[in-house]
């Protein structure tokens, strides 16, 4: 209503533009898939039922002084959205919004426990999953808020915005009865979150100075402190859920134009976050979480000569974990700081070449306040990054780019170590990474474009003995679009990606020997589409077809020592185990639609869409809900999350739009 208040006056003004549209679309949908498939088909959509009526509306009012925009859609569904903004040109702008985002993971999941969705589960161990309770793994975000932007006293400005999100639903969480080696339970985790965000900003913007002061506040609340599973584990179990937290801070941002077409920019900010561990039974020590961050950015850019661009920059970012645990149950408090500095140079060369290059140094220093043993302290990283790019736009119909980037990462460990030290973890391991990219855009005619891209990336984790040792990937992208004036628009794209990962691992305590895994991710896809103006401005046919395929695999090479009696690796007939179904999937879809302009104000549409998703994975093959025999490490009580995501979907839709 606040947004609408000025507009009674606006509507009385002579020089005004009013436009908008109202659409109503009927959808009939048929999804063939199991529980996971039905959810995957509608992962972020609300199309679960047989279909329904979907509405959409848009309104715009524009005068010399005032403006008002309204947009809304999917009324009554879990994807509904409403946005309204309005104000006086050059003076102020108000906006309000409401938006829903569903995330469907698996429908008709099962649990041997009663009361899925609540924080205390009950029930008894039972392997007859046909008798288990069913529920849906799904969450829904309801977001709403608004904002005000004020420009009345230029060059000063003031902005304030507030947003609140309620997230509710159930998602899967895993827990073991005992560790290691206990029975695995997949449990329904209740999601009842509320997040509030407030941002206030005030500033000054007039050449040569931009300056703003910004404050932000965010709090997160979880209605459920813990998930209690009292009866079915060996002992009553409590599983911790995300704790309430609060985060607030302020920044000063500024930019100042200097002589020689130069500009200095800065951003200095400090923030503080805290969390509460709510139930004393979780940690009896009375842990209080607190982590502060400090960020300082400063950069100088210059373009003193037409052929020269340059910039230097510095960034300091620190996370200081100030959590407190009086009795020492928690004994690790990770701090880190990242210092980044570097420079870049760009040169406009003859024949419309543009050459740019740069260097960046990143120092990441980690500390763990609760750890005194230098063997256990996390190491520091020193990154040296170099890049060079060349762009050529010497022909009116062609643009080409090529680039190379190099990363050398060194590690500084806190204590001497052997080459096989397991602390050389991927997360901070020394690495050498080369990236090469090339791009070509050709536009021989104003209505015809071709694009081609290639990327190659190779990373060697040079000092790693165990863990991820290397990764190598290629990516190719191509696209084309062509417009035949009043006849049609055509477009197509294609892509190919291939990545290979090499890992070497040691078999672990009680076993001898190293094993190797080589993992491949390969995917390719294409799409074609057309808009055909069968009767120009009257009847348009729209066609779209997309295809995406992922073919993953992993080859294990195991040492003979792992096949000795008692290790549990029965059934291997050789030391090479190849898994061909490793997140394999094929996504195939097409859509055809006819749009008919009945009159200046009315438009009708009719269409059909088909989509099929076929998913295969060794970890989910022959999915079973429960096993309570044999070794404890073979036992499990699963609920069906991600069980089988394959589906086939048919969708028929027809709609009418009124435009004004």
């Amino acid at each position: 209503m606040i947004c609408l208040a000025p507009f009674s006056h606006a509507l009385s003004q002579d020089n005004k533009t009013i436009e908008g549209e109202i659409n109503l679309t009927g959808v009939w949908i048929d999804v063939n898939g199991e529980e996971g498939g039905e959810a995957k088909a509608t992962e972020y959509r609300d199309l679960r039922e047989d279909g329904g009526l979907y509405g959409r509306a848009r309104f715009k009012l524009d005068t010399d002084k005032y403006f008002l925009n309204f947009e809304a859609g999917d009324f009554g569904y879990h994807t509904q959205y409403y946005q309204i903004d309005g104000g006086m040109w050059g003076k102020f702008q108000l906006n309000l919004f409401y938006n829903e985002i569903p995330h469907n993971i698996a429908f008709d999941a099962r649990s041997l426990f009663f009361k899925p969705g609540e924080d205390t589960l009950t029930g008894a161990v039972n392997t007859n999953f046909g008798t288990w309770n069913t529920f849906d793994y799904e969450t829904l975000r309801r977001q709403y808020g608004g904002g005000l932007k004020v420009d009345v006293i230029r060059p000063f400005f003031f902005d304030v915005s507030f947003a609140r999100e309620n997230r509710n639903g159930i998602k899967p969480i895993g827990a073991a009865e005992t560790s290691p080696g206990g029975r695995a339970f997949e449990l329904p985790e209740p999601v009842d979150y509320v997040t509030n965000n407030l941002v206030v900003s005030a500033g000054y913007a007039r050449k040569p100075l931009f300056l703003s002061l910004n404050y932000f506040y965010s709090d997160f609340g979880n209605d459920n402190n813990a998930l209690n599973v009292p009866a079915n584990f060996n002992a009553p179990r409590t599983i911790s859920l995300p704790p309430d937290n609060t985060y607030h801070g302020g920044t000063v941002k500024g930019a100042l134009s200097l002589p020689f077409n130069s500009r200095i920019s800065t951003n200095v900010g400090y923030s503080s976050g805290s969390s509460e561990t709510p139930t004393v039974s979780l940690i009896s020590s009375g842990y209080k979480g607190k982590a502060d961050t400090l960020n300082c950015d400063v950069a100088l850019t210059t373009n003193p000569l037409r052929f020269l661009d340059a910039k230097i920059y510095y960034k300091y970012y620190k996370r200081d974990n100030k959590s407190d645990d009086p009795t020492g149950v928690v004994n690790t408090f990770l701090d880190y700081k990242v210092i980044t500095y570097g420079g870049e140079l760009g040169l406009r060369l003859p024949q419309k070449f543009y050459l740019s290059g740069g260097y960046k140094y990143v120092w990441t220093d980690r500390d763990d306040e609760g750890v005194t043993d230098p063997l256990l302290l996390p190491p520091a990283n020193m990154d040296n990054n170099f890049f060079v790019d060349l762009k050529w736009s010497g022909l009116d119909f062609l643009e080409a780019k090529a680039g190379y980037e190099r990363l050398d990462r060194d590690v500084h460990y806190r204590s001497p170590q052997s080459a096989a030290d397991p602390r050389r973890q991927f997360y901070y391991a020394a690495q050498k990474r080369d990236t090469v990219k090339a791009m070509l855009d050709i536009f021989p005619l104003e209505n015809l474009n071709f694009g081609l891209e290639y990327r190659f990336k190779n990373t060697d984790y040079t000092d790693t003995t165990y863990g991820l040792k290397s990764e190598q990937g290629h990516e190719v992208e191509a696209s084309a679009d062509y417009s035949l004036g009043k006849i049609a628009k055509l477009y197509a794209y294609g892509n190919f990606g291939w990545v290979k990962y090499n890992q070497l691992e040691t078999a672990g305590s009680g076993l001898t020997g190293d094993w190797r895994a080589t993992q491949w991710d390969e995917n390719w896809g294409y799409g074609i589409g057309a808009e055909i103006y069968v009767i120009p401005k009257k009847l348009t046919l729209v066609f779209q077809h997309d295809y995406m395929k992922s073919d993953g695999s992993v080859d294990y090479t195991l040492p003979p020592s792992l096949f000795v009696a008692g290790t549990g690796l029965a059934g291997a007939n050789n030391y090479n185990i190849d898994i061909g179904r490793w997140d394999d999937y094929t996504l195939y879809s097409f859509m055809i639609k006819a749009v008919y302009n009945i009159s200046k104000h009315f438009e009708a549409s009719l269409g059909y869409a088909f989509e099929t998703f076929s998913y295969n994975d060794a970890q989910l093959d022959n999915y079973s809900f429960a096993n309570n025999v044999g070794a404890n490490s073979n036992r499990f009580f699963f609920s069906g999350a991600y069980k089988d995501q394959s589906y086939t979907e048919h969708l028929v839709f027809t709609g009418i739009t009124y435009k004004f």
Partner: protein, 309 residues
């Protein structure tokens, strides 16, 4: 370290005072003549003129708008020579064509928009350093997309250049980008950020950006998983992945990239451990959700260092 921040700010403010004074002196110099007025432009360019009149740039209520200056000639420059020579594309006029350098084209827009609150860090934008110009993305006369005057809707507009990102969002595990619930600009500030970051994210660090929507991961947790606290991207491919939950690689191998210190985390789990596999131990560490079957609170826990195994 707080002192270091204060030093930055002090230097910045001192420089500001000097250059505001200098700039005020420069602003008193008036531009030369040669303007013909937009009614003359309309005689030959009626369609463009009408679109301009329907655009935000025609609103006189906005101080400093072209409508309050020389209208068409505010951006295209004085038109007298263009008229004298009988017109023609780019003849004695600034046409925003490829013949004009990206710097010159941007400079035209920045004459006014440097004073926009959303554009103080354009000089640090990757788009600027890649010679992407304002008119590559914005259509000044005939916008397709709302107040930001984009030439096409997000993410399609961004995908015209960022083709690899489009491919990623087509993968089976993705944020709801193609469903229209998240836009590129939800996370990226395409106009540049103060930190000169390659991805131009709207936060001082990757994690702080992710926490805006995933506040439950923010903690601080009593038992932290160090890589999680440092960089979400170590395990997640944000735009889309072949692996569920946007993971960069398949579990358990993803976890084993770091957890190689012996005992059960580092043992080989293969299809011998599948639901129907012949292994006699450790099967619930491979099938289903693998490591996550037991270690459910991988982002942090209030209970145990093993993430509530």
């Amino acid at each position: 370290m707080k002192r270091r921040g204060l030093v930055f700010l002090s230097i910045f403010f001192a420089l500001s005072l000097v250059f505001i004074a200098q700039n005020n002196a420069q602003n008193s110099v008036k531009a030369g003549s040669g303007f013909v007025g937009s009614e003359v432009c309309k005689d030959c360019h009626e369609a463009q003129y009408n679109k301009f009149m329907g655009s935000i740039h025609s609103k006189k209520a906005i101080p400093g708008n072209p409508a309050n200056k020389a209208a068409c000639e505010s951006c295209h420059g004085p038109g007298d020579q263009h008229v004298e020579k009988g017109g023609g594309r780019g003849v004695a006029i600034f046409a925003f064509s490829k013949k004009e350098s990206s710097t010159d084209r941007d400079a035209k827009c920045l004459e006014c928009h440097t004073e926009s609150r959303g554009l103080p860090f354009w000089d640090l934008s990757r788009h600027q350093s890649a010679q992407t110009t304002c008119d590559n993305c914005h259509s000044i006369h005939s916008p397709v997309q709302g107040k930001t005057y984009l030439k096409a809707q997000e993410p399609d507009l961004c995908f015209t250049c960022h083709k690899n990102i489009m491919s990623q969002t087509n993968k089976q595990s993705h944020h709801p980008i193609r469903e229209g619930k998240i836009n590129c600009s939800s996370c990226h500030n395409t106009m540049g950020t103060s930190h000169n970051g390659k991805a131009m994210i709207k936060a001082d660090s990757v994690n702080e950006l992710c926490y805006k929507c995933h506040a439950e991961k923010r903690g601080p947790y009593a038992f932290e998983h160090p890589p999680v606290e440092e960089d979400c991207l170590l395990c997640h491919e944000i735009h889309g992945s072949n692996h569920s939950r946007l993971l960069t690689r398949r579990v358990p191998l993803l976890c084993q990239s770091c957890h190689d210190s012996g005992s059960h985390p580092t043992r080989p789990y293969t299809n011998l451990h599948s639901f129907t596999g012949t292994a006699t131990q450790n099967k619930n560490r491979f099938f289903g959700r693998s490591c996550l079957n037991c270690h459910g609170n991988i982002h942090g826990s209030s209970l145990a260092a093993g993430f509530d195994r």
